[in-house]
Each structure stands twice: as structure tokens, then as C-alpha cells.
């Protein structure tokens, strides 16, 4: 008790200036990052033809929900939303479990295959066969195209995340593993019952990375499932909407003339509405993950 009081007393003197300056710096950062975001939201709620004139701040000039209407009137969107959620959840769970399992085994110094597997894994981040060979593998050799599994199977592992988790595990006290081993636990049980729960902060971080990556992915739909509209993901559908709205402006050949073709929502508002729609689910899920890596874990009991 007295120790803590001593600390508090020491802190009191100088600790008014620093938090103040720190708070100010962070507020400034919030301002310069928040402004463009609010600007995007404002444009998305603005009338399309008015928005092309530019100069909108953080509040719509001519309020309209036309951009959202044009996104949500498509009967496809509910199915696409479901596909997106399904792929994101399944990919995230599989990826986090498999990647952390691998990370644990590669963190064991005594493991004989550690070096060679690590090397093989790490190189995957740098060697890339290119679009065409990958496409041929997945669509021709493995015949995954035009199926849901093309969203899951090729994305079950990420080396970057594996290394992040491995680094975290390395930082945990070695005694944990050793005492468990003395108790007769096998490596899998040590991983699953001791290491995995302790890794929550980093797993939450990795889960966020994987989920955002999977949620935002549209290129695989274009490559493999473009002809199967019931397998469209939300991002792909939104991407289509954007492309279509830009198309109506470039239509050199369509004889229904550009003058008459004054669509109420223009690419600018659609683009912003799409940004809002795609970011919103992440924004909703974020606080649940954030809890783990902002507040921190109390490791005291274990470490002691």
C-alpha cells in the first residue's frame, strides 16, 4: 500500500503537464483523422448531382438517402450479406486456430522441424507465383471455382499473423510450458488449455486482421464466382454498383443520351455510401475485440 502511495506522490508533481500535452496531441490526431471520415459520411448522405460540385464539409448540403437506396434495392444484397458474414466468420475462426497452432509448434525451441518449416512459411510472404498460375491452380487443378469453398480454403493461413503470434508466445514465461509438461500434458493440450487462452490480446488483433481482410475481399469473387450470383459477397456487389454508376457516365455509345441520363446518385455519393456500408459491420464488431488489446490482460496470477 505504502509503495503505491509513494508512486502516487511522485507522480502528482509532474503529471499534469504530460497528460495535458499528450491529450492535446491525441485530440489533434483524432481531428485530422475524423474529418475525412465525417466528410465521407456527409457526402454519402448528400444528393448525387449536387455532390459532384464538391465543397461538402462534415454535413450534407442537400440531404438525400438516394445513394443508399440504390445500394439496397437490389434483391441480391441480403444473400450477399449472408455470404460475406459466413465467409468472414468461418475464415477467421479457422485461420486463427490453425495459425496459432502452427505458431505454437514453431515457438518450441526443441522442435526438430522448427527451422525448416519456419523458413518455408516465411518465404511465402515474399514469393508470389502471380495471378495466372494461382488462378489455374484454384480453378483448374482444384476445381474450387464456382463454389463457396474458394472463399475459405485458400485463406486458411497467413504467415504474417503466424509470426506475430509466435513472437507473442515467445514472450510468455517458459515455466508455463515446462510445469504443464511435468504434469504430463501433451503439446496439444498445453497449447489449447494454457497458451491459447493466454494469447487473447494477440489473437484478438490477428482475428481483426483476418476478419477485415476477408470481409473486404472482392477479387476472389470476381475471379472465381463472377458467374454465380448467389455466391456474390457484399463487397463484390458493392464494387459492381460502383462500377455501374461510373459506367453510366462514360456511356459513349448508349444512345439514351447523357443529358437525359441524369441519375440521381453519382459515383461520388455511391463510393462514399459503399465505404460507410462496408466499414460499419467492422465498426460494430471492433469494440468486442478492442477490449482484449486495449485494456490488457492481467497476467499477474500466472506470472507470479
Amino acid at each position: 500500500m505504502s509503495v503505491i502511495e509513494a508512486i502516487k506522490r511522485r507522480m502528482k508533481k509532474r503529471d499534469i503537464v504530460f497528460p495535458l500535452v499528450n491529450g492535446l496531441i491525441l485530440c489533434l490526431m483524432m481531428f485530422i483523422t475524423l474529418y475525412p471520415v465525417l466528410n465521407t459520411v456527409a457526402i454519402s448522405f448528400n444528393d448525387g448531382t449536387d455532390a459532384v460540385r464538391g465543397g461538402i464539409g462534415i454535413w450534407p448540403r442537400v440531404f438525400s438517402t438516394e445513394a443508399y437506396r440504390s445500394l439496397f434495392t437490389d434483391e441480391q444484397i441480403y444473400n450477399a450479406f449472408f455470404i460475406s458474414v459466413a465467409r468472414t466468420v468461418i475464415t477467421t475462426v479457422l485461420n486463427v486456430v490453425l495459425t496459432s497452432m502452427l505458431a505454437f509448434s514453431l515457438s518450441r525451441k526443441e522442435y526438430m522441424l522448427r527451422k525448416v518449416i519456419t523458413l518455408v512459411m516465411v518465404l511465402t510472404m515474399y514469393v508470389n507465383a502471380g495471378l495466372i498460375p494461382n488462378y489455374l491452380l484454384i480453378s483448374k487443378t482444384l476445381k474450387l471455382s464456382k463454389t463457396f469453398w474458394v472463399y475459405i480454403i485458400p485463406t486458411m493461413f497467413s504467415c504474417f499473423n503466424m509470426i506475430v503470434i509466435r513472437t507473442y508466445i515467445t514472450g510468455l514465461p517458459e515455466a508455463l510450458v515446462e510445469s504443464a509438461r511435468i504434469d504430463g500434458a501433451n503439446d496439444f493440450r498445453i497449447f489449447w488449455q494454457i497458451i491459447f487462452p493466454l494469447c487473447m490480446p494477440v489473437l484478438a488483433t490477428v482475428a481483426l486482421f483476418v476478419a477485415v481482410g476477408s470481409w473486404n475481399q472482392w477479387f476472389d469473387t470476381q475471379l472465381y464466382n463472377g458467374s454465380k450470383k448467389y455466391l456474390y459477397t457484399l463487397q463484390y456487389l458493392l464494387k459492381m454498383k460502383l462500377a455501374t454508376s461510373m459506367q453510366s457516365m462514360n456511356a459513349a455509345n448508349t444512345s439514351v443520351d447523357a443529358l437525359a441520363n441524369a441519375t440521381k446518385s453519382t459515383p461520388i455519393t455511391i463510393r462514399c455510401a459503399i465505404t460507410v456500408v462496408s466499414a460499419l459491420p467492422i465498426l460494430v464488431v471492433y469494440p468486442f475485440l478492442q477490449r482484449y488489446f486495449v485494456t490488457g490482460m492481467v497476467l499477474g496470477g500466472v506470472k507470479g
Partner: protein
């Protein structure tokens, strides 16, 4: 043999992933043979001809490809230095915040730009840096310049614009990993430091920074291997013919002279070159880290 049996669980947890990676990441590398063929859309069916090093000769015979290598490296280094420093700085500042609600709010707000599409970000940047944009108005009113600076039309500014935009867009997102690492720092270390009479800056220096050191080193080695990847979209959107000599990255070059006219041989040759350089850089960085007795990647 005995070790194998003892380590059977570790093997079960890793060998299936090894096979998976061999199939999805290494097997397609058989496609690298196309780098030595004149593969394009007209001859893929009957099979392209072997042309030896012709694709590589074509690439390295072009001044603008060499320029794109220079631009890629320059922008990567700028991104790496600024990006790392800014995200660590943000993480440290956040770590010092005691009000939980404020900490969470700042964190949530600063990571938001990560979700803005590059098109939107570039659009805003172009408005800000135009002749009568915010930046020039500010500089003019402060008397730093007496003529608006032509930020977007002069090559010498391009790399730095890319650096600034990247930091702004990703600083919050990149700091997440450091913030989560800081949570694993034992709080008693801070208490001990405080008792020893360490001030706030000393504590940051002696407790926080060492606590994230291994993450920092590992990420650094990883990113050094990625120096050949400076990005595509930002340069593609922000660049214009006036600044091409400074704006084109390898990826932009490959898109323009490989993919969009169906010359896949060239695209794959450029990709192969990039991969080889990346591996050399990676091993070099890893070797240096090992010499310095730091954590290593491999």
C-alpha cells in the same frame, strides 16, 4: 526416432499446414517458367515459345523500369521509416493515457481511415494539395512561400506526398499491433521503475520500448523483405504524366506494360525479379539481426 515420437503432437500441429502451404504457395511457382516464355493471350493454347532471358532483357533495357525500381525503393524506405515511427509513437502516447474511455475513443477514431478506399483518400489529398487548397493557403498566409507550390505536378514532392498519405491513413491501424504487444508488458515493471525514481520518459525508455522490441525487430525484418512492395493503388491514382518519372512503382509498371496488354511473360518475369530481391533482403536483414543478437524471423 524417439524425438519424432515425442514431438508427434508438434508435428500434427504443423506438418498439415506445411503441406497446405506447399500446395497453395509453392506449387503455382511452376508458373515461373513463363518468365522465360513469350506467353500472351494469342499463344497460350498451343503453348508459348521459350525465349530465354528475353523478358528480363526487355525489362532491364528500359530506363523507366529502372526508374520504377528506384521509386519503389525510395517510397518503401520512406513508408517504412515514417510508418513505423508514427505508429510506435501513437501506441506509446496511447499507452500513457489513463482514462480508459478516452483511450478507446482515440484508438477507434485513428484506425478509421484504414477503411477509406484509396480513391476517396487520393481525391481528398488532391483537393488539399491543389494550388488553392488548404496546404497552399496555409503556407501562403504564414508567409513561408510567396507562390502556391505545385505539389501534384512536380516530381520532387511525389515520394513525400505518398509518405504523408500513407502515415495518415495507416497510423492508427499499424499501431494496433504495438498496442496489443504493450498489454503483455508486466505492470509490475512500471511499478518497480517508478520506485527506482524513473520519470515518465525514463519508464517509456526502459520499460515500454524494451517491451515491444521483439515485435519491432521482427516486423522490421519482415518489412525490409517487403521493400520491393511500395504499393500500387496510391501511386496509380495520385500519379500523372507530369510526375511519372518519380511516381511509377514496379507494380504500376507491370500493370501498364504486362497485364493490361496481355504480356504475361513480362509480368511474371518482373514478379520473379521482385521475389528474388525480396529474399536476398530478407536474409540480409535476418543475418544482421542475428549478429546483433536480436530476435530473428527465421
Amino acid at each position: 526416432m524417439k524425438t519424432i515420437w515425442e514431438q508427434k503432437w508438434l508435428m500434427l500441429m504443423s506438418v498439415p499446414m506445411l503441406l497446405y502451404v506447399l500446395l497453395f504457395n509453392y506449387y503455382p511457382m511452376w508458373g515461373w517458367r513463363y518468365a522465360f516464355q513469350n506467353l500472351d493471350l494469342n499463344n497460350f493454347k498451343q503453348g508459348a515459345d521459350w525465349v530465354g532471358l528475353e523478358n528480363f532483357q526487355w525489362l532491364f533495357g528500359r530506363d523507366d523500369f529502372l526508374m520504377s525500381i528506384r521509386n519503389t525503393l525510395a517510397m518503401s524506405v520512406i513508408n517504412l521509416v515514417f510508418g513505423t515511427l508514427s505508429s510506435i509513437l501513437l501506441a506509446i502516447l496511447l499507452n500513457e493515457v489513463r482514462t480508459r474511455a478516452f483511450k478507446r475513443t482515440v484508438q477507434t477514431v485513428t484506425y478509421l481511415p484504414h477503411f477509406l478506399s484509396m480513391v476517396i483518400v487520393v481525391g481528398m489529398a488532391q483537393n488539399m494539395f491543389s494550388s488553392n487548397g488548404v496546404v497552399n493557403s496555409l503556407l501562403l498566409s504564414l508567409g513561408i512561400v510567396d507562390q502556391p507550390v505545385f505539389w501534384l505536378g512536380e516530381g520532387k514532392y511525389f515520394w513525400w506526398l505518398v509518405g504523408i498519405i500513407n502515415v495518415w491513413k495507416e497510423v492508427g491501424w499499424n499501431s494496433i499491433i504495438y498496442i496489443s504487444t504493450m498489454t503483455s508488458i508486466d505492470p509490475t515493471l512500471y511499478e518497480a521503475a517508478a520506485i527506482d525514481g524513473a520519470g515518465r520518459f525514463k519508464r517509456i525508455l526502459h520499460v515500454t520500448l524494451p517491451g515491444i522490441k521483439s515485435t519491432f525487430v521482427v516486423l522490421l525484418i519482415m518489412n525490409i523483405g517487403h521493400l520491393m512492395e511500395a504499393g500500387f493503388e496510391l501511386q496509380y491514382l495520385l500519379g500523372n504524366p507530369q510526375v511519372y518519372d518519380n511516381s511509377r512503382t514496379i507494380d504500376v509498371f507491370v500493370m501498364e506494360y504486362g497485364v493490361s496488354n496481355g504480356k504475361f511473360g513480362r509480368a511474371i518475369a518482373a514478379g520473379m525479379f521482385k521475389s528474388c530481391v525480396a529474399i536476398v533482403l530478407l536474409f540480409a536483414a535476418n543475418f544482421i539481426a542475428k549478429k546483433l543478437d536480436e530476435d530473428t524471423l527465421i
